[in-house]
Subunit: 229 residues, 2 copies
């Protein structure tokens, strides 16, 4: 926010000098990011042309490049803002697990928050899981994925304290991948059908994880726990 006014003697310090954005500029940036989100969402990153983004935003190509050095920077800025909001969301979604909380509730709470976030920002899915994203966004996605993974591992190790670290990591990976797959189904449906898929996802995760946690208190039948040796 509080940018220093243009300094004397600071002109050619770094390759990129911080431009003094006016309110108008900030508005344009938001406008352009919104347009980019729309275009990325409907056509994917590579197929989205900067001219199309500018047109969608109602400005000229030249104006777009007044605020972003290149196409990748648009996706990066968009990704940054989404990841920022995402970190807040999943911080709440995964962090506070009361020791007594049953698995079913923990899963339901996490799933509900993540699904809600992804439904509100469909671009996020397109940007993060597209196969044609630029290297920088991929890094960001990997970082976010790693963070999520370790969070899920912590959550899991609370429910399955006597499992090998490798098994916990693998289980967490499976959970995230399954979530991603189900998210695609959820985003592809509306209303009641969408909610049915959400319920299905919760059931799926709970049934997958329950036998692992069951070792804590007298394994209740079902599929036998299979520990990889």
């Amino acid at each position: 926010m509080n940018e220093k006014p243009v300094r004397s003697g600071n002109d050619a310090a770094a390759g990129e000098r911080p431009r003094r954005r006016q309110a108008r500029g900030e508005r344009r940036i938001a406008q352009l990011l919104e347009a980019a989100a729309s275009v990325f969402c409907s056509t994917g990153y590579t197929a989205a042309s900067t001219n199309a983004i500018a047109r969608e935003a109602g400005v000229s190509p030249g104006t777009l490049y007044q605020f972003f050095p290149n196409k990748e920077a648009i996706a990066i800025e968009l990704g940054d803002r989404l990841v920022h909001e995402m970190r807040e969301t999943y911080g709440e979604a995964l962090a506070p697990v009361e020791p007594g909380t049953p698995l079913e509730e923990a899963v339901a709470a996490a799933v509900d928050r993540f699904i809600d976030f992804n439904c509100r920002h469909p671009v996020f899915f397109a940007l993060m899981h597209g196969p044609d994203i630029p290297g920088r966004i991929a890094e960001e996605h990997d970082a976010l994925h790693a963070t999520l993974l370790s969070r899920v591992e912590v959550l899991l190790s609370r429910f399955m304290p006597d499992a090998a670290a490798g098994d916990v990591a693998r289980t967490a990976q499976v959970c995230l991948s399954v979530y991603k797959a189900a998210l695609e189904l959820v985003l592809g449906h509306e209303g009641a059908e969408r909610e049915a898929y959400v319920r299905e996802l919760k059931d799926l995760l709970v049934r997958y994880l329950t036998p692992l946690t069951a070792a804590r208190a007298g394994a209740p039948a079902g599929v036998p726990l299979r520990n990889t040796p």
Copy 2:
């Protein structure tokens, strides 16, 4: 195979006259498809340039267009051949389910065959699940998906005979999506780790489906069966 020799009077019948391929030509086609598979696999469909495919195959761009009318046709031919082999594979994988076969075995058999196929043909995943595929391939993928879906539904309805049709369809969708997600994990690992993920996928599916089938013979505890009304 047995192509009729060039017919007299059949010259300008349709817009496309069937060229008499020589053995050399068939070899080039196989060569080009192999190169295309490699390039598609590593860069995706849109990013793959026809010049790059030709270069990978060691021929000139003009030669490529002697056998394929356009870039899409390359992907289509490749997809056709893969789908053809796929149909044979999953025909065996899903068709014959003995009435007494336990769920665990049926799932394991299907998963093993599909995983094997996808590991032998990594292009298949890239072509079918890429977001930038041309319309024609998408149709083919949708058709294959629909076929697989109905097969899985038939298989499922044998294990859960007293479920609503909508629930069965949804369950089948979830199974396929989960398979797809796990496939990505499997393809991303090697050796023992890969096998561990395969086992995880089987467990996941069995645990997901077991409570649904349990209604047949005195529900053995675990997560209660939740029927959507």
